[in-house]
Symmetry: C2
Subunit: 415 residues, 2 copies
């Protein structure tokens, strides 16, 4: 089957100057791939009409579709409309319906439409306005020499809605694409990327030969190491069946020790869910993470029915007075264990998590990267230690996901 | 004066697929601007030799310099070397010295160089190797039709070192650029971007007419609202003089209430510094922020001499038992004030910060976005309230910088 291609052009001098990173093109590229459309080039160009024109003409010459992103605002710097009209060899006309739509948006906010915004109601003769219009910038669609050019604003949430609801369906229809590509993300912790790849190497080879899903790895810091399964089919139910059966195979190889979620849930969501199911409350005693564990848990709305709070004991004195830690080295198994027990008592929680360690850069008592972690469940304490070869921020982040995963493993085992 | 231009080409199919966001081009674009080199186009292209060649030839045709980023690794997918040789119309030859340098890097890690890495020692005949080589991928420099092409690896820290230490000086020399452009970033909190712009509008107009520095605003969430001054001159001392005198003018207009740092320090660094200077220790009582305030403070190394810890009281019970909060509504002035006093007692700290509020999305006791904050310094309590019109994550972030800035203002006033 012929593969159609779409080129992405991002317009804006601020992109070239590095004042804004162009994440729009990356996002569009991902959506194109998921819809089976190739993308061979992505270009950034400044707010200069000759150069925008040259880039658009080149893109229309070598790709089937072009999405141009940015330059649809109300100011004199917003040149995309004018350049499209020039490329089409037509004039811009004011669209009465658009003026009404834009005025209505301002009206709903209790404001009058500034005259500037009339610019946004201008449409090249022969071009269409996209029906989806989340903000005041209308998107455009134009047929040019048998190719299709789409223009969307640079504001990410406006752009995304137009691409998902209007442009991709239109593109798929024009390209005769009926298949869909869907991904399913498993999250893991406890094995390295190369370790996972090695364990899955036979399966990856089998998939290469026999087809089905593809497997990709994405190291994502505090979010875990993701294993992304991607498959293609004619309907969502067909693709989901492929993905679910592949997930089962991957699960049988890697095991539930390593895989902590099958639908991209965070470790915080998983741990809060496990605690909630068992009717257990949770308290945290943090040292080197300084509040990061609590901050992550409370980023999930509704966490308050499980999470009672945490004690950030950054000084030995606080470890002693609030958590009842005896006179032991701050970074030690004994300290971590008594912190876990102490925080349960202090916060009246069923489960206590505790971490203590050296985040560096300078060592205080122990070697930098040494961390002791403990979990107390119903008064029963378990502990383990890790030595991270990382910098301060990564030591804190990896410690956070490791202790949460440690609790997950323990609650699963004791279920 | 003639302006030289440099085009940036990022190579890698993963960039087009959106698996990696191309932050390299943005960073290079910023460096070029700071060095007075124009950048009119930036292109992403996949790992395809014909398309890479076409993009490089076009770039060499329309720009004075080209930096191509990525595709210098040891695998078969790394095609940049081969394509450069093709564009130059020459062969690749193995460089004995490079083989030694790369072998030595592996040797230092106690490993033998894999045979694959011999590919990295190949250099197009007539091209030079960049002298800066932080990893195993050598950078390249080639003169082609009077233009200069530089090739750097896609690994950000390797790329950055080569650009800063090797490519930019070379480019400046070739382009005869002796001036330098330097920025100075002031950070502010407490006024909106449009509020700052309005207060500075006369000064911005004056600068437009008379020259000197330029002023730009960058909303940066929990990092504050940045005011970036940029100026150009023949030497660093000359530019710094311009920037320092402009910073004084901006300071006289906005005032130290709004500006919390003059050299891009974070609010955490500033607050820890103020406490340290006064010999005061700090404790935090957090509710809706869940540990974020402590986590930010402890992200600064050396914070332990000031920061004693925090109590994350996510349940009313913990507010009562550890912080001694009386029977008042959880989100109230009385709760915030007694949390601030209570945390000083509980952690034996001189200063107590407290925040309590509704982060949403669902309201529990109060309206979503309502936050009460309190500071206790030496037992004297002050409090204030904010109603944020934001989502959960931004409510938590803006609360964090607001309470830290509140303490800064108080300590400055009482100095």
């Amino acid at each position: 089957m012929e593969r159609f291609s779409c080129e992405v052009v991002a317009v804006g001098t601020e992109l070239l100057l590095g004042q804004i990173v162009d994440t729009n093109s990356s996002w569009i590229g991902e959506q194109l791939a998921l819809n089976g459309v190739e993308s061979y080039y992505q270009t950034k160009v400044g707010d200069n009409p000759e150069r925008i024109k040259q880039v658009l003409e080149q893109a229309l010459g070598r790709s089937d579709f072009v999405i141009v992103c940015g330059g649809l605002g109300p100011t004199q710097d917003d040149l995309t409309r004018d350049v499209i009209a020039e490329v089409m060899g037509v004039d811009l006309v004011e669209d009465e319906q658009l003026i009404e739509r834009i005025s209505a948006i301002f009206g709903n906010r209790g404001r009058q439409m500034p005259l500037n915004n009339l610019r946004q109601a201008q449409v090249p003769v022969g071009a269409e306005t996209l029906s989806v219009m989340p903000g005041t910038a209308p998107g455009l669609k134009a047929a040019i020499n048998g190719k299709t050019l789409y223009a969307v604003p640079g504001v990410p949430w406006e752009m995304k809605q137009m691409v998902l609801e209007d442009i991709l369906p239109d593109m798929r229809e024009k390209a005769g694409i009926s298949s869909i590509i869907v991904s399913k993300t498993l999250r893991t912790w406890g094995d390295s990327e190369s370790g996972l790849a090695e364990k899955l190497s036979d399966e990856i080879e089998r998939l290469d030969e026999e087809g089905g899903a593809t497997i990709a790895f994405l190291a994502s810091g505090i979010e875990g190491l993701k294993v992304r399964l991607t498959a293609k089919g004619e309907s969502r139910s067909e693709v989901e069946e492929i993905l679910n059966s592949e997930a089962k195979i991957v699960s049988s190889i890697l095991g539930d020790e390593v895989i902590f979620s099958y639908d991209d849930q965070t470790i915080e969501e998983v741990v809060l869910g496990l605690c909630r199911d068992k009717g257990l409350t949770l308290g945290v005693a943090e040292s080197l993470t300084g509040g990061l564990i609590g901050s992550r848990l409370t980023s999930i709305s509704g966490s308050s029915d499980v999470f009672k709070g945490s004690v950030v004991a950054y000084s030995s004195e606080v470890k002693r007075t609030i958590l009842g830690v005896p006179d032991v080295p701050s970074v030690s198994q004994a300290a971590a264990e008594s912190m876990a027990v102490g925080v349960c008592k202090a916060l009246n929680a069923d489960i206590g998590l505790a971490v203590t360690g050296e985040a560096g850069p300078e060592p205080l008592e122990e070697e930098v990267g040494r961390v002791w972690m403990a979990t107390s469940v119903g008064g029963d304490v378990q502990s383990f230690s890790v030595k991270w070869p990382f910098d301060r921020e990564r030591i804190r982040q990896f410690t956070t996901i490791t202790i949460l995963n440690g609790l997950r493993l323990r609650l699963k085992k004791e279920a």
